[in-house]
């Protein structure tokens, strides 16, 4: 996983290489470089801190899309036991960009719905680059109703560039499919916890995003439009992505300030891709806390709380 990295990660990668080399030299030649190695480790940590604390929103977007970043299935495998994947929307097909099923997370049986990207080109194609078809939203809704029927909490993991702009997706009513989910999620009587794990791309993300809790991993983004799309439309120049990302305020701390999310989940130093296991551990503990709180609420209270939460979204002046 450490094979791929972004431009701004380069200085850290260089240091890590040096540390590895020194370790190899001390091992092979019996020379003690432990002092030097410790010094370099410290330096690398400092560098990670300073790099990640002053990331631009565009760099944050790149981290959210990092090729080595854990995907929904990775978290499911690392956080849960006995996951059984369930397929199909019972109308037309099975979308591979939205996966779902039932699993054990600590003491709970939970339904997990995840947006899934691919790692190599073959899997990327299979997952349609994480862009769901209408069947994906409809499968998600079917599973949410299934969860509701048996009183199981629902966890959704958001990671998509957005809905798929294709002829077939339009023919099969992707607008209606997204709208239907927003509407139906207002009625679900079990806890819904939403976590943006990577890219929260517009309507495609929101379609599984109406929860009692909405959380974001530290280096995830959530936006009304991609920086690329925004740059093309407003700047009429697809290269103005940095300006667009800056203007859109799509980082986790922006969304917390705007009252759209409830909590930012800290990632290990360097980002989730540097230590997927640790990230999954952190996420599991955060989910446990929210599950403990939400499972105390009655079905009516859960619906009420979720409705009130989204009723408050937005800002305006009234004279």
């Amino acid at each position: 996983m450490a094979g791929q990295y972004l431009d701004f990660e380069e200085p850290i990668i260089e240091l890590e290489k040096k540390i590895a080399e020194l370790k190899a030299v001390s091992k092979n030649n019996g020379v003690d470089f432990s002092g030097e190695i410790r010094r370099l480790h410290k330096k690398a940590n400092r560098l990670r801190h300073s790099l990640l604390s002053r990331l631009t929103r565009w760099q944050r977007t790149q981290l959210a899309r990092h090729p080595s970043r854990p995907f929904a299935f990775d978290y499911i495998n690392m956080m849960t036991k006995d996951f059984i994947e369930l397929h199909g929307d019972r109308h037309f097909g099975d979308c591979h960009s939205i996966i779902g099923g039932v699993a054990r997370l600590e003491d709970w049986s939970v339904f997990i719905i995840g947006q899934q990207k691919g790692r190599d080109i073959k899997e990327k194609m299979f997952r349609n680059f994480g862009m769901p078809q209408p069947e994906g939203y409809r499968k998600a809704l079917r599973l949410m109703k299934f969860a509701e029927k048996f009183g199981k909490p629902i966890i959704t993991l958001i990671d998509t560039p957005g809905a798929y702009p294709g002829i077939d997706a339009e023919e099969r009513g992707q607008a209606e499919a997204i709208a239907r989910n927003l509407y139906e999620m207002a009625n679900i009587s079990v806890p819904i916890i939403v976590v943006v794990i990577g890219e929260g791309g517009s309507g495609g993300a929101l379609a599984v995003g109406v929860g009692n809790r909405v959380l974001m991993l530290e280096n995830s983004v959530y936006s009304v439009i991609s920086p690329e799309g925004c740059a093309t439309i407003l700047w009429e120049d697809c290269k103005k992505v940095e300006e667009a990302a800056e203007a859109l305020c799509l980082a986790a701390d922006d969304l917390l300030k705007l009252g759209v999310i409830d909590e930012i989940i800290k990632e290990p130093l360097g980002g989730a891709h540097r230590n997927p296991e640790a990230t999954a551990g952190i996420l599991r503990r955060v989910l446990r806390r929210h599950l403990q709180e939400l499972t105390l609420l009655s079905p009516d209270d859960l619906i009420q709380q979720r409705r009130e939460k989204f009723r408050e979204m937005g800002t305006f002046t009234e004279r």
């Binding site: 809905a163 798929y164 702009p165 294709g166 002829i167 997706a169 339009e170 023919e171 099969r172 009513g173 992707q174 607008a175 209606e176 997204i178 709208a179 239907r180 927003l182 509407y183 139906e184 999620m185 207002a186 009625n187 517009s202 309507g203 929101l206 379609a207 995003g209 109406v210 959530y222 936006s223 009304v224 439009i225 799309g229 925004c230 439309i233 407003l234 700047w235 009429e236 300006e243 667009a244 203007a247 859109l248 305020c249 799509l250 922006d254 969304l255 705007l258 759209v260 979720r306 409705r307 989204f310 009723r311 979204m313 937005g314 800002t315 305006f316 002046t317 009234e318 004279r319």
Partner: protein, 284 residues
Amino acid sequence: MAWFLRSKTPKEKLKVKKLNIPEGLWLKCDSCKEIIYKTELDKNYRVCPKCNHHHRMNASHRISLLIDNGSFVGMDSRITPQDPLRFRDTKRYKDRLRTYTKKTGISDAVICGEGMLNGHKVQICAMEFGFMGGSMGSVVGEKITRAIERAASEKTPLIVISCSGGARMQEGILSLMQMAKTSVALAQLSEAKVPYISVLADPATGGVTASFAMLGDVIIAEPNALVGFAGPRVIEQTIKQKLPDGFQRAEFLLEHGMIDMVVHRKELKNTIGKLLDLLERTKT
């Protein structure tokens, strides 16, 4: 190209001179390119008398088309937009807001209120495409949500005429959240068992169709209106092929089972009126 344009322009001018109509009183039909008097077009519900093309209509005109004379009462017109992201692209959002308010005379892209439709009291929202492409930000979301809530508490049917390019980028994630906010409110309206009629005018795309516009108990589109989620240009760029004729048009959606009917503007009020008669009738 230059020579071609040059030879064309004078001819067109000549044609206009021959007609001898002062400028400002006529326009060219967007579809058949015939020249129509503006007054004639307005009298004909802004539908081209020659080819039946439905031209865009502003929000207040739409309300007057559906609501019985003199019965409309505007609501929530004091709600005005903020600039939560201090958004700036090639222009500042604040400046854009000022320009569009001046241009349209309204504070954001929707007019809401209540009135009578063939004797039925209704809540009505009409989106204004002339205000930043009818885009939905916090104000549009809030006003539509309030109209939904009024419809639910007063048990008056709701009519929303969507005419919008989607969510407003300049309010970022807050615009996206308006989709959830309005849809969640509609779930409550449904519990109150109040009819919601969604009218789709050209264009209805993006965040508006992926929320309240596609959630009507009855969905009516105007002839040839563009209705979809992704815009045709984005789709063309993604799949790298030309889109079939009529793709994402009202008739295409009807064919694919996404809407209930395509109704000529002239028939719109009576169609809705009849629906409400039938839905509100208590005796058999």
